[in-house]
Structures are given as structure tokens and as C-alpha cells.
């Protein structure tokens, strides 16, 4: 048959071509260069006792999206900050995601005046930028100048203020910096740790010319980007990858006195979506899968041993899933209320919110939507937040009978036997629950809520809509009944840094943002407690205040906690030194301590 001949010949030619290509791939690879430390170690290098590995190799991480900028002050979404914040740029102090505490970095030590207003930071001696230029207090002062400048859209700027007033930064000598606060502030170190230092000698000219925002874009030659972190950027190809190589002047050494970091190269592969990242991990083209979706965990576990990787369950994610009702009694420009007044009346009644919370089968959510791997959630803070989580908040457990009793007590009864209750005025108890359509888990949670509420006689219409529309409803037109969404929580997860969620005047005070005066006594109480959380320098007092905030939110249920999946990551076995944490970047936050097992060869040879 002549038909068969052509494909066969074609396919053998094809295979030959592949063989040539993969051969090229093998022989063309980098030969194993021994790492030679050619630069003198700084006088007071930081000895990282957790680091005990050896040099060489490459780490590959497939992640969704591309960095949008290399200008660290402007970076505000994870595809940029994952690369810049930590791996490339560092602050004065560092935050250990695993231990959830501040540790010395560029600043070796610091002192606080008794009133908590004056802080003195002592900088490490002999530190150099990645181009070899010496680092000094001038760089710190320059960084603060840039961050406070109104012309630079620096995300950290408002954090570096107390009550809208900037902190005063002074250079005492070339290795000492003094900070004076206008008023007491709790998370000083946390904020300072997220102010990433930039080199004066490289950027001052552009800054003085008013061109700071245009510097260090993705089109900047990577060589000219100078940093203090363990890695520097050497190559960037849009929608392909961003390659980091060891910073030859890094100022940390490991337990044996060898300079960190260990890997020669770290590659952030840019992939279009989760599925592509997952395929790359399965094919051995990347070393980490972070996160592993709940539905993939079991199938991945089957391959783990054969393919040489392990799954780690990091426990409940710090991000949350919850729903809330619109409590905003305002009217739009045309005098029309955002929400029908009778609905507002239901939602404002704490018994209604508790009844809803009682009706929700969180265990059922975990079983179905989260594939059995999750935790019920009752507040805005999960167990993942080691320092701030309060376990003693009221929990309105799954109890349909109690929910029904509460609704009866409010006078909500099914008067026409259609299975749905009506309020005393005859309005059907029905509301629309929005959630963002991009999130499959939330869509499932919404439909479970719908079923759960139907069982107690409430009609809930679950309606997934696009994320941007959802945000417009929350922020701009306030036209909605109820919304199911989540908060991701920053790093460090200090509540003072997300005070806008808790304060009644806050923009992200979801259920009724930007209140002129606290609408209820309990919101007034939360406002007062948040003053303590934000301003009190003493941690124990801050914690006590925030415990009470969590208890009030649990009691009043302005937000109804649902369920949260566990965060699972997959790491190839040859990668050592990992201490995964629920805080982003879950595996790579201690990048300088990670290393490749000897003798295991190059990463994913194909």
C-alpha cells in the first residue's frame, strides 16, 4: 500500500530529527563549573546557620505570568514581586516566612527608644552592591527619598507613614541610620523589611531628572540592574523566562563559611496558566509545583515516588474564603438605595447572619469542593497566621435546627408553602450571592451554600460574575446582596498592615466601606482596638487587642467564614534545604539556602 509508506518514512526522518535535537540538548548544556568565590567576603558577613549545602546547579520554577517591571518600588503584582522582593532586592531587615519573625539582614542590630519613637539601625560593614560598589547609609536615605516622593507610585509609601505623616530618616554615620516616627507605630520592622533598598550610585541621576518611574523597566539591559539580594537578573525574555544568577557580592555565608547562595542559576519560567505549569512539572521541566490544586494532589501523589519528588501539605492556607452581606444603607446619586430597605433590615439583624452561618455545612464543603483536604474557617484569620490567630472565637457550627429556630424567632416563616420563608411584610427571603467566576472552588462553595440555605428555607441565587465587575460592585456602585470572596493576606501578615479591612472608615471594610462614623457600637469598638493594634509598640498588648477584634467579628458575623483548602506544594527530591511555609513564596522565600543534591546532575536534562 503506497499510502502507508509515506508516513512511515516521514516519521523515521522525524525521529532522527528529534534525536539530533535532544543530542544537541545534552551536549550543549553547561559543563559543571566549580564555583570559585573571587570576591573578598564582607568584614561582617552574616552567618546563616540554617544553610549547609554546596554550590552549583540550577533551580527551575514554572510560574504564571511575567514580571511587568524590574523597578522594585513600582512592582505591585505577584509575577513581579515574586522575583524582585527577596530573591533580587532586600530590605534593611528580613522576614523569615517559616518562623514568621523578623531577623537581621543588612541591618545587623537596632535599638528602640523607650517611647518607641526613635529607632537606630546599624548596617552591616563591607556590604557591596552586585556590581561591587560599596553600600552605605546614603543608599538607605536615597531609598526613603524615592519612596516618599509623590511622583513615584511606590506601593510602600503610605505604609511608611503614621497618620499620614512621613517618618524622619537621618544618616548618623555611613553605617548608622536613625528613624524618628511622628507617633507610635506597631509594625515598624515589618514595614521597614518591605522597603526594598535601591542603589544611589545607579539611580540618583534618573531620580533627579524626574525619570525614576521609567528606570529599570523590562526593557532595561539586566546587567545594569544592581541589587543586594542573593541573585541578580541576567536574562529576561517576555512570556518565556527570567533568569537569575548568583550575586557575586552577596553578604551571607553558610554554616561552613562558604558564600551563599548555592545555585548558579534560578529560572522563573513563564507559563500561561496553571495547567501548563503542572504539565511542565510532570515532564520534569521544572523543580517545583506551587501550589498543587486540590484535585491534582492525589494523582500527583501516585507519581511522586517514581518521578522523584514529594508532596508537602503546609496546612490551612493563609488566604481566606468568606461571604458577607451588604450592610451599606447608602443611596446612589439618583436617591435610589443600594439595597432594598427590607433586605437591609434582614442583613442588619445579627440573628440572620448567625442563622446563615449555622446553616453552612463546612465539613461538606471540605469533602466535596476541597477534595477532603481543608479546614473549616470561622474568621478572617486562619491558623496559618501563627502570631495572630485567635482560636477562641465564637464558632457557629453546622446546625440547621438552630438556624431554623433563629429564623422563626425573627418572624421569617413559610406562609405560602413554597419551601421558602417570607418576612412578616411578606417579602420572600431571597438574595443573590455573587462570586468571581474565575475561581472554580469559590463557584462550588457558592452552590453548596445555595443548597445549605434552601434546607432552612432561604432562597439563595448563586451567581458567578467576572472579578472586575465584582470589585466595581464592592467599591463603586455597592449594588449587591451578598458576595463570596477571599483575602490573600500580605507578608508579613500583620493586621496593622491590613487595617483598612477592619476599620469602619476603611476602603476595604467590605460590608460597608468608608463609613463617616462607625455605624454600630461593635464597629466603634473594633476601630478603637485597631488603634492599639496599629500604634502600640508592645506586641502582647497588640495581640490582646487583635484577639478581641477577631472575637467581635466572630460574634457579630459581618463576614461568614467558609472553608479553606490546605496549601500543598510538590518539590523535586534533589532540591534540599527547603523549609516550606504557608506564606508566599512558599518554597523559595529562603532561596539562598536551597541547594541541589550532589551527583544528581543538571536540572531536568530535557
Amino acid at each position: 500500500m503506497s499510502f502507508a509508506r509515506l508516513p512511515r518514512r516521514a516519521s523515521s526522518a522525524f525521529l532522527a530529527a528529534i534525536a539530533v535535537l535532544s543530542l544537541a540538548g545534552c551536549t550543549g548544556g553547561r559543563t559543571d563549573t566549580r564555583f570559585v568565590d573571587s570576591n573578598p567576603l564582607p568584614d561582617s558577613a552574616l552567618h546563616d546557620m540554617d544553610a549547609n549545602g554546596h554550590h552549583g546547579g540550577r533551580l527551575v520554577y514554572a510560574t504564571i505570568g511575567d514580571p511587568k517591571t524590574f523597578n522594585v518600588a513600582l512592582a505591585n503584582e505577584t509575577s513581579s514581586t515574586d522575583i524582585l522582593d527577596g530573591p533580587v532586592f532586600v530590605g534593611l531587615v528580613e522576614y523569615d516566612n517559616g518562623k514568621q519573625e523578623i531577623k537581621p539582614g543588612i541591618a545587623t542590630r537596632w535599638e528602640r527608644s523607650p517611647d518607641g519613637l526613635t529607632w537606630t539601625f546599624h548596617l552591616r560593614q563591607g556590604v557591596r552592591w552586585s556590581d561591587g560598589h560599596p553600600f552605605s547609609a546614603d543608599d538607605v536615605i536615597f531609598t526613603t527619598q524615592v519612596m516618599y516622593d509623590e511622583k513615584v507610585a511606590a506601593a510602600v509609601r503610605e505604609l511608611l507613614k503614621v497618620n499620614g505623616q512621613a517618618w524622619k530618616w537621618e544618616k548618623v554615620d555611613s553605617l548608622t541610620v536613625k528613624v524618628t516616627l511622628p507617633a507610635p507605630f506597631g509594625p515598624v520592622l515589618e514595614v521597614i523589611g518591605s522597603m526594598y533598598l535601591v542603589p544611589k550610585h545607579k539611580l540618583e541621576a534618573a531620580y533627579l531628572a524626574g525619570k525614576y518611574e521609567e528606570t529599570w523597566s523590562i526593557n532595561t539591559p539586566p546587567d545594569s540592574i544592581v541589587c543586594l539580594g542573593p541573585y541578580r537578573i541576567v536574562e529576561y525574555r517576555p512570556a518565556e523566562r527570567c533568569v537569575l544568577r548568583r550575586n557575586p557580592h552577596y553578604w551571607k555565608v553558610d554554616a561552613n563559611g562558604k558564600r551563599l547562595p548555592y545555585f548558579d542559576e534560578v529560572v522563573f519560567l513563564s507559563v500561561p496558566d496553571y495547567n501548563a505549569a503542572y504539565l511542565k512539572f510532570q515532564a520534569g521541566e521544572s523543580d517545583l509545583q506551587d501550589p498543587v490544586r486540590p484535585e491534582d494532589a492525589s494523582s500527583l501523589a501516585d507519581d511522586a515516588k517514581r518521578q522523584g519528588f514529594s508532596l508537602t501539605d503546609l496546612g490551612s492556607d493563609i488566604a481566606t474564603n468568606f461571604m458577607w452581606f451588604n450592610l451599606n444603607p447608602g443611596k446612589d446619586a439618583g436617591g435610589k438605595p443600594f439595597l432594598e430597605p427590607y433586605k437591609l433590615k434582614w442583613f442588619q439583624d445579627v440573628r440572620f447572619r448567625r442563622a446563615v452561618s449555622h446553616s453552612i455545612d463546612r465539613a461538606g464543603m471540605i469533602r466535596t469542593a476541597l477534595y477532603g483536604n481543608g479546614d473549616p474557617q470561622y474568621g478572617l484569620i486562619t491558623t496559618a497566621n501563627k502570631k495572630w490567630y485567635n482560636p477562641n472565637v465564637p464558632k457557629w457550627e453546622f446546625d440547621p435546627a438552630r438556624a431554623k429556630a433563629l429564623l422563626d424567632e425573627m418572624g421569617f416563616k413559610d406562609r405560602n408553602n413554597d419551601g421558602v420563608r417570607e418576612d412578616p411584610a411578606g417579602h420572600k427571603i431571597e438574595f443573590v450571592l455573587y462570586t468571581n467566576s474565575e475561581n472554580t472552588i469559590r463557584k462550588q462553595l457558592a452552590s453548596i451554600i445555595k443548597d445549605n440555605l434552601a434546607a432552612v428555607g432561604i432562597s439563595c441565587i448563586a451567581s458567578p460574575i467576572e472579578f472586575n465587575t465584582l470589585i466595581s460592585h464592592i467599591r463603586q456602585d455597592h449594588r449587591y446582596d451578598a458576595i463570596l470572596l477571599g483575602l490573600t493576606g500580605g507578608v508579613p501578615p500583620d493586621p496593622a498592615l491590613s487595617q483598612n479591612v477592619y476599620r469602619s472608615s476603611g476602603l476595604t471594610h467590605q460590608w460597608w466601606p468608608e463609613q463617616k462614623h462607625p455605624a454600630t457600637p461593635w464597629e466603634a469598638r473594633i476601630d478603637k482596638l485597631m488603634d492599639t493594634v496599629v500604634q502600640e509598640p508592645d506586641f502582647a498588648k497588640r495581640k490582646a487587642a487583635f484577639d478581641e477584634v477577631q472575637a467581635i467579628i466572630g460574634e457579630q458575623q459581618p463576614i461568614v467564614g467558609l472553608a479553606r483548602e490546605h496549601l500543598v506544594v510538590a518539590i523535586r527530591d534533589r532540591i534540599k534545604g527547603t523549609r516550606p511555609s504557608v506564606l508566599r513564596l512558599h518554597v523559595m522565600y529562603n532561596l539562598e539556602e536551597l541547594y541541589s543534591e550532589r551527583g544528581s546532575g543538571q536540572v531536568a536534562s530535557r
Binding site: A153, S217, P238, P272, E285, I471, S472, R475, R606
Partner: protein, 311 residues
């Protein structure tokens, strides 16, 4: 051409405006970014102005200064973001065109000349397969194939060791990455062109001058290649321009699914973020190419067929 592009720009701008929210919505939802910053960004990007004012200003800059605006997320002039991606898209479209035409014409000829032979049936099978399989599904299927066999990389354009390869190795490496996306993109046009080639040639072979040629005693090879195929090709040549245009629009889907770093994935990403001017820039760029493709088709038509003249 100018009114067409103007219309497209108004339409794109209008649709972007009708979509709820704007670029800053995602940032607004982030509780660690202070509202003061969001407002100052809105002012800087001009998002606090009404849409007609922004469109007017944008158009003015485009027409008088050839300035297509700045991308919100990259903070760069849109063209410096688009151009590298456009090159990649063109590479992919070109490769797909080569596959499509390189296979369609010989296969079409063979199946016409040996009508109802096994060759013809096989080629027809491939054609119907190509015509009926959705691009997205085919792309996913090939990705799965790549993942299972390990013969091809999963998405991307260059391997990690690219910089250490010899110039020949670099070309081979890109070709290795290009193969699957180009196959997906080339299959549909290949299938339809093949059917067209077959039908055209069959028509021509029935014409009298072919009989005349045979009657003259010309060898069959000369009859087919010199007389029949040439005439059967004519209508196809005009389609070439349209194919380029179709490949460009088709590449958007393939790029997104297979992770090819082209204009399509950039545009989709920009659309999701509502990065207004970047979307405008890429849509205009793509439309210009489409219009040019059609222009090429028209010109070819005129060149090939003397009956058609534009005055």
C-alpha cells in the same frame, strides 16, 4: 484602510470602556495598597477623565506624534512591549504557512491525479480530520502527546540552555519548540487548501485543452505539471494573502494554549488586566496585518488574473 483602522480603534476603545471596572480594579482589591496610591495612579494614567477625552487625546497622539500611549502594567511605550512579541507571532504564522502550503499543494495534486486511489483517500482523511478538529482541542492533544512522549518541549520557544548553543543549535532549538504550535496552526488551512487544490485540478483536468495536450502526444507529466497544475493554482494564489490573515488571527488561540510568546498571549493578558493602550496597540497592530494580508490578496489577484483591473 485608514477609515477601517479608525473604526476598529473606536470599537475596541468602546468595548474596553463598556467592560466594568478598569486597570486599577485589581489593585483596588489589594488591601495592602493604600487608596491614595491608587488615586494618584488613576490621575497619572488619565483614568479619572471621561472616555471621549481619553480617546481624543490618544488619537491625537497617534496621528500627530505616532505615540500609541503607554502600557499601564509595564509602564513602557506600548510598541516597545509589542514588537518583540509580534516577531514571534510572525515566525509562528510563517512556519504554519509553510506547513500548510508545502503539504496542501503536493497532496492536493496527488489526490486529484490519482482520484479515488488510496493516496486520495488518505489525503482526504487527513483533510477532513484537519477541517473538523477544533484548534484548541488539537493543541491540548499535542501538548499531552509532548508530555507523555517527552519528544517535544511543553510550550515555550527556547530551551534553558539556549544561550550556550551554537548558532545552528539555536535554530534547531527554536524549530523544535516551533514544531507543535506550527502543526496545530497549519492544519486547518492545510486541509482546506488541499481540498481546494484537488477540486481545482480535477476541474482543469476535464477541460478540453488538457485533452488537446494529451492528443498532441505530450507525456502525462508535462500535461499535468505544465498545463493543468499551473492553471489550477491560479485561484489558490489569491488565497495566499487571506491565509496569512487567517493564520494571524488563528495564532492567538494557539499561542495562548501552547505558551508561545507571541502577540496573542500578550493581548489576552492585557485584555484581562484592562491595560487599555496595550490592548489598543496590539489590536491595531493585528488589524493592520489583517488589512495588509487582504491587500496582498487583492494585488495577487490582479497580477494573476488579467481580467481583474483596479482603476
Amino acid at each position: 484602510m485608514i477609515p477601517l483602522l479608525l473604526g476598529i480603534s473606536i470599537l475596541t476603545f468602546g468595548i474596553m470602556e463598556l467592560a466594568p471596572g478598569d486597570f486599577l480594579n485589581t489593585i483596588r482589591a489589594n488591601d495592602s495598597i493604600p487608596p491614595e496610591l491608587v488615586e494618584s495612579m488613576a490621575k497619572r494614567f488619565g483614568l479619572d477623565r471621561p472616555w471621549y477625552e481619553r480617546y481624543g487625546r490618544w488619537l491625537e497622539n497617534v496621528v500627530f506624534k505616532a505615540d500609541f500611549g503607554e502600557s499601564f502594567s509595564y509602564r513602557q511605550p506600548v510598541f516597545s512591549v509589542i514588537v518583540p512579541r509580534l516577531g514571534n507571532t510572525l515566525v509562528l504564522a510563517l512556519a504554519a504557512a509553510i506547513i500548510a502550503w508545502g503539504l496542501a499543494i503536493p497532496l492536493g495534486i496527488v489526490s486529484a491525479v490519482r482520484q479515488y486511489s488510496w493516496w486520495d483517500k488518505g489525503a482526504s482523511f487527513i483533510a477532513f480530520f484537519g477541517l473538523s478538529i477544533p484548534e484548541v482541542f488539537f493543541a491540548l492533544l499535542l501538548l499531552l502527546f509532548a508530555a507523555k512522549t517527552g519528544w517535544f518541549p511543553i510550550g515555550g520557544m527556547r530551551s534553558l540552555d539556549y544561550n550556550d548553543l551554537s548558532p545552528v543549535g539555536k535554530v534547531l532549538d527554536v524549530l523544535h519548540h516551533l514544531a507543535l504550535p506550527a502543526i496545530v496552526l497549519g492544519t486547518i488551512p492545510m486541509a482546506s487548501r488541499m481540498r481546494q487544490m484537488r477540486a481545482n485540478l480535477l476541474d482543469v483536468l476535464r477541460l478540453e485543452y488538457v485533452n488537446t495536450a494529451r492528443a498532441k502526444g505530450l507525456p502525462e507529466r508535462v500535461v499535468i505539471w505544465k498545463h493543468a497544475v499551473r492553471n489550477a493554482l491560479n485561484p489558490l494564489i489569491t488565497l495566499f494573502g487571506f491565509t496569512l490573515a487567517a493564520l494571524l488571527s488563528g495564532s492567538f488561540v494557539v499561542e495562548v494554549v501552547m505558551g508561545w510568546p507571541g502577540l496573542g498571549s500578550l493581548t489576552l493578558d492585557a485584555l484581562r488586566r484592562q491595560d487599555l493602550y496595550l490592548v489598543m496597540g496590539s489590536v491595531l497592530m493585528a488589524s493592520t496585518l489583517l488589512v495588509l494580508g487582504n491587500l496582498v490578496a487583492d494585488v495577487l489577484l490582479a497580477v494573476v488574473d488579467p481580467r481583474i483591473r483596479y482603476d
